[in-house]
Symmetry: C2
Subunit: 204 residues, 2 copies
């Protein structure tokens, strides 16, 4: 009954997450999702009507997961240096648990940018300004860091952590030649990035 239904719907959803993450909307097959969930195709449509609707549910969930986590780290009330340290610690650990999530999201967003409008509301941006940009402005005014465009700084912060995951396939090929694993590379990165970023905006 209710309990069993929950389980089936969940099994479908989890299988859909796995397949969509790996293959994307266009490349995913309903049959593969059904197989992975241990049920048949008809049940997918019973619970989610269409492939698109199933994908929407998956995308919505994963995008929320990612962005809430990301903004969550940046919203903390902490001095700049500590905020950077916390951000990379938390955020990269999150990415290590979900290594192909960035590639999936970036690709689907490029395909249909309107999908994320709901996550980048003006309220969300206002919050970002209050919790991050105002703080940076204060630090710059006090000469505690180099004056620079705050949005550029935010993108730098994110690029340095997210890009290696978005380019995981490429990076692994590159690292193969150096006899180092992706995980080792990321682990080292997690330690080095905070110092690097703080250094990059230091006034000498």
């Amino acid at each position: 009954m209710k309990e069993q239904q929950k389980l089936t719907e969940e099994k479908i959803f989890d299988a859909a997450v796995a397949v969509f993450e790996e293959k994307g909307l266009a490349g995913a097959r309903m049959q593969e999702i059904a197989d992975k969930a241990g049920i048949n195709k008809a049940l997918l449509h019973y619970y989610y009507r269409t492939k698109e609707k199933l994908f929407d549910a998956v995308f919505e969930h994963m995008a929320g997961f990612m962005f809430n986590k990301l903004f969550g780290c940046l919203d903390q009330k902490l001095p700049w240096k500590e905020k950077v340290a916390l951000f990379y610690k938390e955020h990269i650990s999150f990415l290590q648990s979900h290594p192909i999530l960035p590639a999936f999201l970036l690709n689907e967003i490029n395909q249909h940018p309107e999908r994320i409008s709901r996550f980048f509301t003006s309220e969300r941006i206002t919050l970002l300004r209050q919790n991050l940009f105002d703080q940076l402005e204060e630090d710059m005014k006090q000469n505690r860091m180099m004056r620079m465009d705050k949005m550029q700084l935010l993108i730098n912060l994110i690029a340095l952590s997210v890009f290696p995951f978005a380019a995981k396939g490429l990076l692994e090929k590159l690292l193969e030649q150096e006899n180092i694993t992706f995980d080792e590379f990321i682990e080292k990165r997690k330690k080095e990035l905070p110092g690097l970023v703080i250094n990059s905006v230091k006034i000498r």
Copy 2:
């Protein structure tokens, strides 16, 4: 005759580049490529046999285009500071002319990493070591820059320029709220990145 054949094959190829770049292998439709080339589906198969083979030709060409340009900038015999300046000038200008190329390549590489083995040979890596890493090692030894992992530094360099393009759809949504266009954002970035990167590895 020969001349006309060249033109048709070229029209197909160009149309295929446009459609595959936008939709990816799985999302692209032979019909759309044919329409864009101004011919019919049958001709696609006459020239390229299968969708896969057409895609292979497109991918091979675009990947070569991207990586040759990228490594080309880094191979120059120039002091570190000038190399960084040249790299961002050349490389970002290239990306501005091909803004959706990174997203396309990264996605297809994640889907089939073996496709790029041919571009990351041990010879190519050896060249990179000689032309970039050895130089960095020398600069570090002379205390002209902070000691750090050279591969990490290379990825930082690339992440900062490539990520905004790989995340173009997302970034545009974010910038919308700030009333700034993607192009303006990139133009500013092109000016600011060299100083930032050099600063980030400076010894104080």
